[in-house]
């Protein structure tokens, strides 16, 4: 029998990193405080002790340099898995990601490629300082040439991160810090991967399709308990490229859709989902597609942030409204 442990998301990520580093000597982990300190969330705990200074690298405080050098490391035959400490500190990396990492294969007609992973914790709900609670997935998802992955639980976190590390292209791996330690799941100790680009139907249903990713999946699960409809709950998992097939099939069946995200609304991932569904399931739709999102303002400091992030009650209410349309 395969040994199985009950792990949290952060432990599952740690396990994936360890597993991939054991499997492939070209994998190196770098970032601020990822080494001796094991990362501010302990996601890289124990790796420095095990793999040493040359594979688990504490860098100076320089996000542009970290991602720029990671591009160079990738070009030089290594597999950098770099970390931004929080969502708001990955922003200085956008220039190198948009203008280089995402285009190196494209620009060179396949001569070079840029297989790197950028991991960072994202989202609110941990009572943190400003710039520690943002949900910036749209910036990455809008950028051609990047893949964007967001796990919602420990099993997927391990399998998706393994896939991200093995992927031949740059992958942005966003970790829902609000549920880093809130969810425990059985996670096999042996290696496995969960494929990128595939949404997961968490629960089948026939009345309405609810689509979410990351920490909002938990809120949706809780919302389900508050309603008596037959709900199809889908975890998007990979935001880009998006598994529109699974989404469209579901909405063709249910005729209704609620998309739940933490990020601000304007021009976001939920807009793309709604645009695609409204087009591809046009004749099946029995109610307008509902987007339950953050507001078009910065996520508030923690005293107010739970008004910003939709909770299970708000989600349940919106499901109800869509059903009663």
């Amino acid at each position: 029998m395969v040994p199985i442990a009950k792990l949290t998301i952060v432990e599952a990520i740690n396990a994936a990193l360890r597993q991939e580093m054991e499997r492939d000597a070209s994998v190196v982990v770098l970032g601020e405080d990822v080494g001796r300190d094991g990362g501010v969330f302990r996601a890289t705990d124990g790796l420095w002790e095990k793999f040493g200074d040359e594979r688990v690298i504490d860098t100076p405080l320089a996000e542009t340099g970290i991602i720029g050098a990671s591009i160079g490391l990738a070009l030089g035959g290594l597999k950098p898995v770099c970390e931004a400490q929080f969502d708001g500190f990955a922003t200085p990396m956008l220039d190198q990601l948009i203008n280089h990492a995402s285009r190196i294969r494209w620009r060179s007609r396949g001569r070079f490629s840029c297989p790197l992973v950028l991991r960072f914790p994202y989202g609110g709900g941990i009572r943190a300082l400003e710039h520690h609670s943002d949900s910036p997935e749209t910036y990455y998802a809008h950028t051609p040439g990047l893949k964007v992955v967001v796990p919602s639980g420990p099993y997927d976190a391990k399998g998706l991160l393994a896939s991200a590390i093995r992927d031949p292209d740059p992958v942005i791996f966003m970790e829902p810090k609000r549920v880093y330690r809130a969810i425990r799941e059985e996670v096999p100790e042996e290696e496995y991967t969960v494929p990128l680009g595939q949404a997961r139907v968490l629960q089948e249903g026939s009345d309405v399709t609810v689509i979410a990713w990351g920490a909002m999946v938990r809120e949706c699960r809780e919302a389900l308990a508050l309603t008596s409809y037959s709900i199809e709950l889908i975890d998007l998992r990979t935001l880009s490229p998006m598994d529109t097939k699974t989404l469209v099939e579901s909405v063709k069946k249910t005729g209704r859709a609620v998309i739940v995200q933490e990020a601000p609304r304007n021009c976001s991932v939920s807009a793309e989902v709604a645009a695609v569904l409204s087009r591809e399931a046009f004749t099946s739709l029995r109610a307008p597609i509902k987007r339950v999102t953050g507001f078009d303002t910065v996520i508030p400091y923690p005293r107010m942030e739970n008004y910003y992030i939709a909770d299970e009650k708000r989600i349940a209410k919106e499901i109800d409204k869509v059903m009663k349309y």
């Binding site: 601020e32 405080d33 080494g35 001796r36 300190d37 094991g38 501010v40 504490d58 860098t59 100076p60 405080l61 320089a62 996000e63 542009t64 340099g65 708001g88 500190f89 922003t91 200085p92 009572r127 943190a128 300082l129 400003e130 710039h131 520690h132 609304r265 304007n266 507001f295 078009d296 303002t297 910065v298 508030p300 400091y301 923690p302 005293r303 107010m304 942030e305 739970n306 008004y307 910003y308 909770d311 009650k313 708000r314 349940a316 209410k317």
Partner: protein
């Protein structure tokens, strides 16, 4: 032909040594009251810091970055500034902000999860900047505005040793050099950027020498010597106001606490190093000096502590009795005027709170 094109050197300044002995040739002219002010501001910083740490531990306030050990680097520059000058802090300058007139209550509010803590009128101090180094170009730009507007105002910006590795630092210092801006760059080199020691932050022997890359002076000072941080800043502010451009000041100090309350420094640094630096404590040092000069006594200390305790306790009370912000505040400040989208979203949220009886807030 091989020849030397240019030569540079980096100077170091210390006035008050670890044993509280002042180098009288370098000592600024300060009256007794002024010397006491240095001491009292540092004590205010220390007591505030201890209280903030306690509040955080008790869950009454959020993540907090302690200034313990860095009081001289906080207070000296603040007291060297004139009233009309402006301060751009990073996030480890509470004693500096307080010395410049920011209320302790506002700071508690800031660290206590409330944007209203940033709304501090009538003092020339900007809010805390969380993303490391990003405030440095703001300060350069602000100094530029003062220069273009012909105002005799200096701008002082703080940042850490870690911040000197970031591009914003480099771009801002370069701009300041090119446009000869009236700005003072104060680096609190506290030897650590979370777990990364100074030696791994840069291969440069000193951080002061980074100024050479931008064509203006840099100096390293003993950051636990409040007279040295004061004098160096005073000189830099004079240079700025006389149109002689920017200065980089590296305050060589030490972070005595964990990085923040979310950190555990035992994981990555040796207690011995901390103990060594304990001996260099900036407050103790000034106390010895004052004692020798007859400016310090047990009763003075007791009274000071008592008064400071009262001040801090009152700030805590005010902080904790502040009524919650309004839901509207979430939407009101994104633009000067709420957009149609925001109006709609505010309406929706209000309705949703009613419908779901959501309590929201940090209490969830």
């Amino acid at each position: 032909m091989r020849k030397t094109l240019a030569k540079f050197s980096v100077e170091y300044l210390q006035i008050l040594d670890e044993n509280g002995r002042a180098d009288e040739t370098l000592m600024p002219v300060l009256g007794d009251a002024r010397v006491r002010e240095f001491y009292e501001q540092m004590v205010r910083g220390r007591v505030f810091d201890e209280t903030a740490l306690a509040l955080q531990r008790e869950g009454r306030m959020g993540t907090y970055a302690s200034i313990r050990g860095q009081e001289a680097s906080n207070v000296g520059p603040a007291l060297a500034m004139d009233k009309e000058d402006w301060l751009f802090p990073a996030f480890r300058e509470d004693a500096s902000m307080v010395a410049r007139g920011v209320s302790m209550e506002a700071l508690l509010r800031y660290w206590g999860w409330d944007e209203r803590g940033n709304d501090v009128r009538d003092v020339n101090v900007f809010p805390v900047a969380v993303p490391v180094s990003t405030q440095i170009p703001h300060a350069a730009g602000f100094a530029w505005a003062m220069k273009l507007r012909k105002k005799r105002v200096a701008t002082l910006v703080y940042f850490g040793d870690g911040a000197t590795s970031k591009g914003d630092f480099a771009e801002a210092l370069n701009l300041a050099g090119v446009f000869n801006l009236p700005v003072v760059f104060v680096c609190q080199n506290n030897q650590w950027a979370i777990s990364v020691p100074r030696a791994k932050q840069s291969a440069a022997e000193t951080l002061a020498q980074k100024a050479i890359a931008y064509g203006f002076p840099g100096i390293q000072v003993d950051g636990n010597d409040v007279f040295a941080t004061y004098v160096a800043t005073k000189e830099a502010i004079r240079r700025a106001k006389e149109g002689n451009g920017p200065t980089l000041i590296e305050c060589f100090t030490y972070r005595m606490s964990d990085h923040t309350t979310a950190d555990d420094a035992k994981k990555y640094r040796d207690a011995k190093q901390v103990a060594e630096w304990e001996k260099k404590d900036p407050i103790k040092r000034l106390q010895l000096y004052m004692k020798a000069k007859g400016l310090w006594s047990e009763s003075y200390e007791r009274a000071l502590r008592e008064q400071t305790r009262k001040e801090v306790d009152e700030a805590v009370k005010k902080y904790e009795s502040m009524p919650p912000a309004q839901i509207e505040d979430m939407f009101r400040y994104t633009y000067a005027e709420m957009t149609p989208q925001l109006k709609e979203q505010l309406g929706y949220l209000k309705k949703s709170i009613e419908e779901t009886k959501s309590t929201g807030g940090a209490n969830r």
